[in-house]
């Protein structure tokens, strides 16, 4: 017993020694800065410097000023729309690759799906502007085929264009976790269900979908959380009515030099996201537990 305990201690020591550099890096450059951001959000912005007076004024401003409140609400709606659209559109793709592609060719399909994600994000967003614009590719194509007589104007510089562009940008983040969950499903369960006389659709609803839920939950979170903080897409294709919270944060930090208010906006956005994610996890808890 004593020897085993000693072995475990040595193992813990070895592990801690290895993890120390990345852990210290993350503590110093991630956790400490995040905590400082929280502190800043309670300080007062003075002229040229930050006054060390504790205040709730920044949060009061962030939550009651109709401009900030509107942008925050819009960011939330856009993130939710993007999440729903991305996950719904991605599911059949993950399903196809997992269930209908030869095992030896699966990684090639996944590679094809991930390639566009690795190409310059800025340039991809800009090209969506080219596709969706008044004289854009989509309008030109639709006019050429006589489907519309004049260019559609609801495509660019609004919430629609932000949702389309973000749904494109986050596609692999939704496909990959769902694919991994689908891969783990024991295929004999599906056969059992069909042997017991269930149709394919009922089998999907009662066996495949519940078992794929951990992947769906992961996909929802991994799309929802970062989208609310996206800066480039709303800046380039959002137009004045498509601005999101990251644009506000940038404005406070780099233009207006109001760090406390910028921090309060950032912390508020993160808080909203955290609360919604927690509620979502609570509702999907039974799926995550039931799939052992």
């Amino acid at each position: 017993m004593a020897r085993r305990a000693q072995g475990a201690e040595a193992e813990a020591k070895g592990g801690l020694l290895l993890i120390a550099p990345p852990a210290i890096y993350a503590l110093l450059l991630l956790l400490a800065p995040l905590l400082l951001l929280v502190v800043y959000s309670f300080l007062t912005d003075g002229y040229l410097e930050i006054v060390r007076d504790f205040t709730f004024a920044n949060y009061h401003e962030a939550w009651t000023n109709p401009l900030y409140r509107g942008v925050m609400l819009r960011s939330l709606i856009v993130s939710l729309l993007v999440t729903v659209a991305t996950v719904l559109l991605a599911f059949p793709v993950a399903y196809f690759v997992s269930f209908h592609v030869e095992p030896s060719r699966k990684s090639t399909w996944l590679f094809l799906i991930t390639i566009p994600f690795w190409t310059s994000y800025l340039i991809r967003v800009f090209l969506w502007k080219v596709i969706l614009g008044y004289n854009g590719v989509l309008n030109a194509g639709l006019m050429k085929f006589g489907l519309i007589s004049e260019p559609l104007t609801f495509l660019l510089y609004n919430t629609n264009s932000v949702v389309i562009t973000l749904a494109h940008a986050y596609a692999p983040f939704a496909i990959l976790p769902i694919f991994v969950a689908l891969e783990k499903i024991d295929r004999s369960l599906l056969e059992a269900s069909q042997d017991l006389g269930e149709s394919r659709i009922v089998t999907f609803g009662r066996v495949t979908l519940p078992l794929a839920m951990p992947g769906v939950v992961a996909a929802v979170l991994i799309v929802f959380i970062p989208t609310i903080g996206d800066y480039v897409t709303p800046q380039l294709v959002g137009g004045p009515e498509g601005r999101m919270v990251a644009n506000l944060i940038q404005l406070q930090y780099l233009r207006l030099d109001n760090y406390p208010l910028g921090s309060a906006l950032a912390i508020s956005a993160m808080g909203i996201v955290a609360v919604i994610s927690a509620i979502f996890l609570l509702f999907t808890r039974r799926y995550l537990k039931g799939t052992k």
Binding site: A8, A12, G14, G15, L16, L18, I19, P21, P22, A23, L29, L31, L37, Y40, L89, P92, V93, Y95, F96, V97, F99, V101, K106, S107, F111, L112, I113, T114, I115, P116, W118, T119, S120, L122, I123, R124, F126, W128, V130, I131, V137, H168, A171, F179, V180, L221, I222, I225, P226, G229, Y231, L236, A246, I249, Q250, Y253, L254, S263, A266, A269
Partner: protein
């Protein structure tokens, strides 16, 4: 045809995914200053004009310095974390790993502003160096994800055999484990390099007056006249990253085959 409706849907979805990437070279070779259809004819002048853009070369140099440093640093940190998490059990493993992997889901703007506050607080001037600090934070989780799958497939008995033959933990790591995970290390470096080269927000906030390639590209979007040159630059960048990724994918697959694991596909 296997998969029927799903195959057609997936191909349609791939068209949606590739639409911007396909348009890029079309406009890069288009002989018109306006980025729109109809096309005006073939030209390579945007590519030649790229050579005389004054801001582009310093930005490229900065980006390369940052991306190479980030690739090396985050892979070193990634090797340590992946080795620790796959081989050892130690107290506080879950929260520590959670913290290190957090930037994977944290919006980049949060990472950027929180680091900005700290750096300005301690009085470190913004430069290439501060961008590297931020990029390493962001790319380390990706490095860990790739390296974990490389370390996971390792056979413990190989390492034990090395000890029995008189190797120390350090020499066993260097002589036995490192060669086996080398493909994972190369793949991790290439992915971190690609991510850093493309990163905009952190570079925008933490670069100060030092401009990286994405920051340069973003600034050029304001001038319609310089957009065709950016399309040409983008085409080269896309071709380059597809090349790098194919090499990374090759090493990733070879690494999995080498350590005897099964390919589950994908980088993430």
């Amino acid at each position: 045809m296997k998969g029927g409706v799903f195959r057609i849907y997936t191909i349609g979805y791939l068209l949606f995914l590739y639409a911007p990437v396909v348009l890029l070279p079309i406009f890069a070779f288009n002989d018109g200053t306006v980025i729109a259809f109809p096309l005006q004819g073939f030209t390579t002048r945007w590519f030649t004009q790229m050579w005389s853009e004054p801001g582009l070369w310093p930005a490229l140099k900065n980006s390369l310095i940052i991306a190479v440093s980030t690739a090396i640093l985050s892979t070193v940190l990634g090797v340590l974390a992946a080795r620790a998490s796959t081989r050892y059990r130690f107290p506080g493993k879950a929260p520590v790993m959670g913290l290190i992997m957090l930037p994977l889901v944290l919006p980049e703007i949060i990472v950027a502003v929180s680091l900005l506050v700290v750096l300005l607080g301690i009085g470190i001037p913004l430069s290439i160096f501060t961008v590297i600090l931020g990029h390493v934070l962001m790319t380390t989780p990706f490095a860990i994800a790739i390296l974990t799958s490389a370390f996971q497939g390792l056979d413990r008995s190989l390492e034990e055999a090395a000890y029995d033959l008189g190797e120390t933990p350090v020499s066993a790591f260097r002589l036995v484990i490192l060669p086996l995970v080398m493909p994972g290390i190369i793949s991790s470096m290439l992915i971190s390099f690609t991510l850093s080269l493309d990163e905009f927000i952190i570079a925008f906030f933490l670069g100060g007056t030092q401009v990286t390639l994405p920051v340069y590209i973003f600034s050029q979007f304001r001038f319609p006249a310089s957009v065709p040159v950016i399309m040409a630059l983008g085409t080269i960048l896309v071709a380059l990253s597809v090349l790098l990724l194919t090499v990374a994918e090759y090493y990733r697959r070879r690494g999995i085959a080498k350590s005897g694991g099964k390919d589950t596909g994908g980088f993430l």
